[in-house]
Symmetry: C2
Subunit: 306 residues, 2 copies
């Protein structure tokens, strides 16, 4: 029996949220419609944040109200209880909440202390259980913080244990600034798996230092089976040329499928999504394997079928 890798496609949220080019609701719907066709099991559709703070995500409620029918699980990022209420009202049943592992990142990012952020997360987790809403908790900057430097695995494990008390549907260890290396991933995820098991865990990597795919492999070696990725590798700081964003879905899919792990993602449909994204962004998008994959995707499929 082929083992399954669950990919959450985040281009419509993490991919778009910091781009200088803002897409309209209709354009984001076109992206999501193309992602639905790939067969990817989870799609993050946007975030319920203030449109003043993040204009790129304005109208996520409109998108939520008219999502195409699919077997894929839709989710949205909610920054706080207000966002939770909005997402719930919009019919979203899987919410992502992000907590930074360091005091300074929480202060700089959302002007809350570490303690306040944890209280907020706990309040949302308790409330979500009453509502039957699934929560994916993201522990952000879990390897390194741009303000405080390296984050100790002991801190992450303690915070993870605290969050697990309120039973999130998933706990995602997030390398928000792309500073992890495969040895650090292997070591931290081994510990997390030992404490919490694989089913509840996920990983979220950025490709800043070109190690994201190696980090995904390290995560797989530790037993992780749930990964975030973004079609075309969209995401991250768009003002740094050559500095890549999220690990690209096509890179994760092709590596996993070639290794005999089933992602359920149709590669030609995914390449079509990247094409749609390139049109919408008016600039060529594509992960590290994009060029090769465009001309050779049959080889991956054949490998997998064999």
């Amino acid at each position: 029996m082929t083992e399954r890798i669950i990919i959450k496609e985040v281009s419509a949220r993490d991919g778009l949220q910091a781009q200088p080019k803002h897409l309209s609701v209709e354009q984001r719907q076109r992206l999501i419609a193309s992602l639905v066709k790939t067969g990817v099991p989870e799609i993050e559709i946007g975030s319920f944040v203030s449109p003043k703070a993040v204009p790129q995500m304005a109208g996520t409620d409109q998108i939520a109200a008219a999502l195409p029918e699919t077997a894929a699980e839709y989710s949205a990022l909610v920054p706080n209880m207000k966002g939770y209420e909005l997402a719930l009202k919009a019919g979203i049943r899987t919410h992502a909440i992000a907590i930074s592992a360091t005091e300074q990142m929480n202060q700089n990012n959302i002007r809350k202390s570490l303690a306040e952020t944890f209280t907020m997360a706990e309040d949302i987790l308790v409330r979500a259980r009453e509502d039957g809403v699934a929560i994916h908790v993201y522990l952000a900057v879990a390897f390194e913080c741009p303000y405080e430097g390296k984050v100790s695995p002991a801190t992450v494990l303690e915070q993870a244990a605290q969050l697990m008390r309120n039973e999130p549907a998933r706990l995602v260890i997030a390398d928000t600034i792309g500073a992890a290396d495969p040895a650090s991933v292997r070591s931290l995820m081994n510990e997390c798996v030992a404490q919490f098991g694989t089913d509840v865990l996920g990983c979220h990597f950025h490709d800043t230092r070109a190690m994201a795919l190696a980090n995904v492999y390290a995560g797989i070696e530790s037993g992780i089976r749930q990964f975030d990725s973004s079609a075309g590798g969209l995401g991250g700081c768009p003002f740094a040329p050559g500095a890549k964003g999220n690990v690209a879905t096509e890179d994760v899919v092709s590596m996993c499928e070639q290794m005999g792990l089933d992602t359920g993602v149709d590669i030609p449909a995914l390449l079509e999504s990247v094409k749609v994204l390139s049109e919408l962004m008016e600039s060529p998008q594509g992960g590290r394997s994009h060029y090769w994959l465009n001309n050779n995707w049959q080889k991956i499929s054949r490998d997998h079928a064999a």
Copy 2:
């Protein structure tokens, strides 16, 4: 004590040998001089092949005759006994010989049968022992052959065992067409390490499918400590835009150093080599991490010192 990773820098050979732009002897000497300054422990300076067949490598004897003094080990590729004699005469004391793991690759590449190639390798190994010359044997297309498809690990292990009888200084398992994935690397290199130990083994990866750095990590996990790489990721087929060549030295160095493995390579000097290479090739060169590293190399050094 920090563990050591031995990098053989192959840009001056594997990097240049298939480029449409041919460098002069003086230009190649400038590249090698800049590589010497990086502290990389091994530098492949070219190959002793027919200049009619590979004009990019013409004059390797002139380069060999005027190499800068350094602690680095120089080596050259020799295609056959004639090349061996030429390299020996030119003063090269470490020779690389390449044998393909499949019948068809040997036929198409050097018009010899698999059996003939092994006999040639054995003759060179016997002769080299008399001369006190170190031989690095490359087992090419060890994961997949462009003509015969996947190569079974059993075949590779059998061929490796046969070659080991004549005691090469190193046996390099080479993913010549960049078709390996980290699971296949891990599995094959585990077997190789179990049979031959880590000291004699090396790996050579191409980044065609964007998995080269993940493959290096998988090799490290299997115990491999010797890797080929090319400054700027130069190499491979230059006619396929976006299709990368050899795994980039800067990507391997930054990953290893961040994981606390000592490569002995000075990152700013390496980035200078990539700059030299860009000037010589008249097109921008650079590995996957190049942009980030150019602006942030201090972070890697700090990480390593910690």
